[in-house]
């Protein structure tokens, strides 16, 4: 098969993995109530709202995922250096990363809930045990996909093995550093986009739809599910319908357009034959990126205009 076809084929694999990684990253943060909406779960007992949410605020999602992914990447990298096949090394590394994440998920929940004793918030042991495995499994899915992406793009991965091109198609960064980069990025995206569906809509589902959550509502979270008392597991089922896939789509689109514009630029610069011109390759990539940027600004203009026309000015008190 033509080398350039193989490069595009591996890029498509990376994009699909990116979508899955970010989807599970967002759902994992919802499962344990990590990141920004955790401020409400933290505030609820102080407002007299005793709840059965899992209260996991390890750190910001970016740092938390950078650590889990870098641990996974380092373990996988060591195993690959010993000649172990990637099919074993990548899931094993991700498993270690998820185990460390599970330990880090345990301590903040117990510590924070214990600190809420003065507000009569109990530590529900069924909530504690019941959420740990879903947290670890969601985390594993995200970390294994990120480690696989880093492996494919690293100098020891399949992209580097493709010969017959003017320049190497892989990234010069080593596997653990790529895991760190994508870990931070996936966490930043999950925190920026997916949290909105959880924090604005799901946590305040008993408040009027279609308005920003006023400061006086803060801490007064919705504690009842479709049947019985709500736990953090009920959040995941809801956010998996919109917030999670939208977050996955964000990371997938970023990886798609970053790789696509670079590859198109490389082809314009003579990747597959003829004289290689790095200036032309990078210049075409930059030009395509700028055009996409302008399209994004126009899309936002249209979206905001549509929302203003459809919803109209704020009505109510």
């Amino acid at each position: 098969m033509e080398p350039i076809v193989m490069v595009f084929a591996w890029t498509i694999v990376v994009i699909v993995l990116a979508f899955i990684a970010c989807l599970f990253e967002d759902l994992e943060s919802d499962e344990g109530s990590q990141s920004n909406p955790n401020s409400q779960v933290q505030l609820a007992p102080e407002m007299g709202y005793i709840h059965r949410y899992y209260n996991k605020a390890i750190s910001g999602e970016g740092l938390s995922y950078a650590l889990a992914c870098t641990i996974a990447g380092t373990v996988a990298w060591m195993m690959l250096s010993q000649g172990i096949t990637p099919v074993i090394a990548i899931p094993f590394g991700a498993g270690i990363g998820s185990l460390v994440h599970m330990i880090r998920a345990t301590i903040p929940h117990l510590g924070r809930e214990a600190a809420h004793k003065r507000f009569e918030q109990p530590i529900y042991m069924d909530v504690f045990y019941g959420h740990l495995v879903p947290i670890a499994t969601h985390n594993f899915m995200a970390v294994v996909c990120i480690t696989a992406i880093a492996y494919i793009q690293s100098p020891m991965g399949p992209l580097a093995a493709i010969t017959g091109l003017q320049v190497a198609a892989n990234n010069p960064f080593p596997l653990p550093l790529l895991c760190f980069i994508w870990g931070i990025t996936v966490g930043a995206i999950g925190s920026s986009t997916g949290d909105i569906h959880y924090g604005t809509e799901r946590l305040f589902q008993d408040r009027p739809f279609g308005e920003g959550r006023r400061v006086i509502y803060h801490g007064q979270i919705c504690r009842y599910g479709d049947c019985g008392i709500r736990t953090s597991k009920d959040i995941v089922a809801f956010c998996a319908k919109y917030g999670g896939p939208a977050t996955g789509l964000t990371f997938g689109l970023i990886v798609l357009f970053e790789n696509w514009r670079t590859l198109i630029g490389m082809m314009a610069g003579g990747l597959t034959g003829g004289s290689w011109s790095p200036e032309l390759a990078s210049g075409v990539g930059i030009a395509i990126g700028l055009v996409i940027g302008v399209i994004l600004i126009i899309s936002n203009l249209y979206l905001v205009r549509w929302a203003r026309k459809k919803f109209g000015p704020f009505v109510g008190e």
């Binding site: 910001g60 996409i292 905001v304």
Partner: protein
């Protein structure tokens, strides 16, 4: 090592660091309140958002820098590639965040700090929920964010390409040093902002940008001196250690 190269490292560290700081100030950052649609901006912290976007830019910049195999890379083109990469990351993130506000929560993106959008001239006040500080990404914040991502990504990639191509660090070492200088400046800028900011139209931007840039200059200069000393004392940094 050639003194011109040492000056180039120092200058690129200072310019890159100051651009990182400027980029953070331009981003619309809503922090935790934005996740509840209580404040305008992206629902995460300054440092995380800027680092996430700059690292995406750095990923592309490192690939572009490897196009020049046997000669010095073109600093401008590599830095521009990084800037455009970071811009696209922040652009997609803000667009999908707005999609979530509009279709997931039925909220119109509006600014809480200005009555009229300075770019599109659309009125903001009557669309805002009372007792909130705005919600979503209005057009002015979106464009400010795109500019902030571009500037920040450009700065990060500039530090990387200078270290990798001219100081002859290995790609991994150059990447880690660039990330280090970048994050130091991003954290300083986050302290300077102190909470939320909507972009260049926010009154906070004009009030605090001068102090932020001065702090970034000082820290970047110190970082640059450290890198120059490290380059002179440990010339084997170019091998990149175990990585």
């Amino acid at each position: 090592m050639d003194p011109i190269i040492l000056v180039l490292i120092l200058v690129s560290a200072v310019i890159g660091g100051m651009m990182a700081s400027l980029g953070v100030h331009l981003l619309p950052v809503g922090g935790a309140p934005a996740a509840m649609a209580t404040a305008t901006g992206v629902a995460t912290g300054c440092v995380m958002l800027m680092t996430g976007s700059a690292l995406t830019g750095l990923f592309t910049a490192s690939a572009v820098a490897s196009f020049w195999e046997f000669e010095h890379a073109n600093i401008g083109l590599v830095a521009l590639s990084g800037g455009v990469g970071a811009m696209l990351m922040i652009g997609w993130t803000m667009l999908v965040a707005n999609l979530l506000y509009v279709f997931g929560a039925g909220i119109v993106p509006v600014s809480g700090r200005v009555a009229v959008d300075p770019i599109t001239k659309e009125s903001q006040t009557e669309y805002k929920t009372p007792r909130t500080d705005g919600h979503g990404m209005p057009n002015v914040s979106y464009i400010s964010g795109i500019a902030g991502g571009f500037v920040g990504g450009f700065g990060g990639a500039l530090i990387y390409v200078t270290l990798e191509n001219y100081a002859h660090f290995s790609p991994a070492t150059a990447g880690i040093v660039a990330i280090g200088i970048f994050i130091a400046n991003a954290i300083l800028a986050a302290y300077n902002i102190g909470g939320t900011i909507e972009g260049f139209h926010d009154p906070k931007f004009k009030e605090r940008i001068a102090v932020g840039l001065f702090a970034a200059f000082t820290v970047s200069l110190l970082c640059g001196i450290l890198v120059v000393v490290a380059t002179l004392v440990f010339p084997y940094l170019g091998l990149g250690g175990a990585l």
